[in-house]
Amino acid sequence: MLGTAAAFRLRWLEARRRGGLWLVLGTALLVFWVAWRGGDSVGGRFGFAGDIAGLFTFALAIFFGAFPLAVDRERRRAYLASASPASPLGWTFGNVLGAAATAALAGFFLHGAAAAGAAAGGGIETFEMTRIGSAARTLWLPDAPRRIRIEVPADAHSLRARPVVYARVAEEGSSGRASVFVGQDEVEIVHERPWTTSITPPFVELGSADPAFAVGVPLASIRALGAPRSFLANALRAAVAPAIVAAGVAALAVAAAAHLTAGVAALTVIVLVLLGALKPFVLDSLAEERGAIAAAPGAAAAADRAPAAARAFVKGALFVVPDLTRANLRARVIAGEWLRGRAWRHPAVMTGICLILGTLLGAWGVHRRRTT
């Protein structure tokens, strides 16, 4: 399509020359420092730094996506493309690709910096949420002396890596003795450290011995402290998915900018992101809804899942969630449960849809504004 290559190269050069990449680098250093110097407490290190990375990733994706087209119009240089034979579709697609590439790069570096900083600080907290019961893959619990094989589906990639199993202690107050279950299978715990008995609250009820709970809850979680040997894998795993999602957000921002001014476009995308991904999901408040969703197995209960998800959405709307990454992650996990079996819930697929949608909507805006 005529105009795609020109637009892509233009946006890439724009990001470089106007300091966009320096901005990413500077922010990445900040994130690295936070992860490196952050505390060792539960939820510290990668958790907090990852949240900052997530916040800036979204901000930069909106920045890279929403501003170029709108600024072109405001500075009245849009004629260069408008008066040329470049098609609105080609021109917009190039803009979408350029914004998506820079946003993806930002997402990758920021999350990679978080993981790298945490590794430099002595360990990486990695989390992964997933459904239990599909294809298995091997996870490393890096500070364990040997590998532990845990049944986690291969499609469990999300915004950032979270190896997840379900865990519960055998007895309440049992001095650190814990059992970790994946589905109904118990996994041997090599290290009995405090953190193994206080695994992420929504997924564990300490002292609960009800096997139905373990079976019924679709999500399982485990937190692992990563050793340096898994640093690169963890960094990559942490960075790739946010980069993909950032590209999708940037594409939507381009579409908004094609119709609106830069400021309104940015605001629109922020609202879209908040509404579409963050609102329903306030961390611990969702246990009830998650339980309701999970407790409705099989096709017959599908009707019950929708109201539960809707309740979650409404409840989430009452809160402003600062933890963009985690909330977004949970958004998709719950959406994934609700939409179980539908391939398009995968972040890469959703981002692909965003790219196509961003291009089509953006091209419509460019065409509409080309001739007034």
Partner: protein
């Protein structure tokens, strides 16, 4: 076939809100025919409809009524855009690109092949005197330099029609003369040029044909030579005459009842003085004194 053919072209702008809503007619029933290979000047005071007309010719503004075709296809058609170069009244370019990158970017927009882009870019950078500044970003350019790059981008794709809104705006006399020479060369190669300018001397010197717009209407159109020629007067220029020769000549004119003005010493143009001064200074390597 005319390169630009406009028939009964009308453009009205409506202010949309409330009781103050009104319609402004920017262009009223304009007929325009620009033949191939000519330099056509569109003149008129501010607000006369020149830029509106240009935007309709480029397909960037939809006429309220009437038709306009470019190179035989409706204005705004991709085929028309492919063969049209455009320089707006103000040079609005990407200031973070270098001059060379700007031309390369425009070449990509026009789908030019890499080798063609490189060749044409080098050619036009030389021709517009921007070769030495080609690696600098546009943010560091003066207004005149940006104008030259703007002109180069309009000519890059070897268009059959070039539309230039105030092409010499912001240029110094040297640049002004270079641009006029460039436009003549381009037109000699068969390219049609439509330009607007408030510098009437430039128009008179470079255009073959002009139309004057006023309040959206065309009030005059014709060939420049024809329009500027005065058939009721005759001008002579001679060597300096002595007193007796001058008195004899005056007596002769009076005797035959021929009205005349003068005699007076002809004045050179300021432009000619400017260039002669610069050339003299270059020759002596010194300053200029008065």
């Amino acid at each position: 076939m005319d390169v630009i053919a406009a028939q009964a072209l009308v453009k009205e702008f409506k202010t949309p809100w409330g009781a103050a809503a009104r319609t402004v007619r920017a262009v009223a029933a304009l007929d325009l025919a620009v033949p191939k290979g000519r330099i056509f000047g569109l003149l008129g005071p501010n607000g006369s409809g020149k830029t509106t007309t240009i935007l309709m010719i480029l397909g960037l503004l939809r006429p309220t009524a009437g038709r306009v075709s470019v190179l035989g296809v409706p204005a705004g058609h991709p085929e028309a855009r492919r063969f049209t170069g455009y320089l707006p009244e103000e040079t609005r370019l990407y200031e973070f690109l270098t001059g060379e990158e700007t031309l390369d970017f425009v070449g990509r927009l026009f789908g030019m092949k890499r080798a063609d882009r490189k060749r044409r870019t080098a050619e036009l950078l030389e021709r517009t005197g921007m070769w030495d500044a080609r690696k600098r970003t546009l943010a560091t350019y003066s207004k005149g330099m940006a104008r030259r790059i703007g002109l180069a981008q309009a000519l890059l794709s070897k268009p059959q029609l070039v539309v230039l809104d105030e092409p010499t705006s912001g240029l110094d006399p040297v640049g002004n003369r270079e641009v006029r020479d460039l436009l003549r060369d381009v037109a000699a190669g068969g390219t049609t040029i439509l330009l607007t300018s408030h510098i009437l001397g430039d128009v008179a010197e470079v255009c073959d044909r002009i139309a004057i717009l006023h309040a959206g209407r065309k009030v005059l159109e014709g060939d420049v030579k024809t329009l500027l020629a005065r058939t009721d007067r005759l001008a002579w220029e001679t060597d300096v005459l002595g007193d007796d020769e001058r008195a004899g000549l005056v007596a002769y004119l009076r005797e035959h009842s021929i009205s005349f003005e003068g005699p007076s010493a002809p004045r050179t143009t300021l432009e000619r003085l400017f260039f002669e001064t610069l050339e003299s200074d270059a020759g002596h390597g010194g300053g200029v004194s008065t």
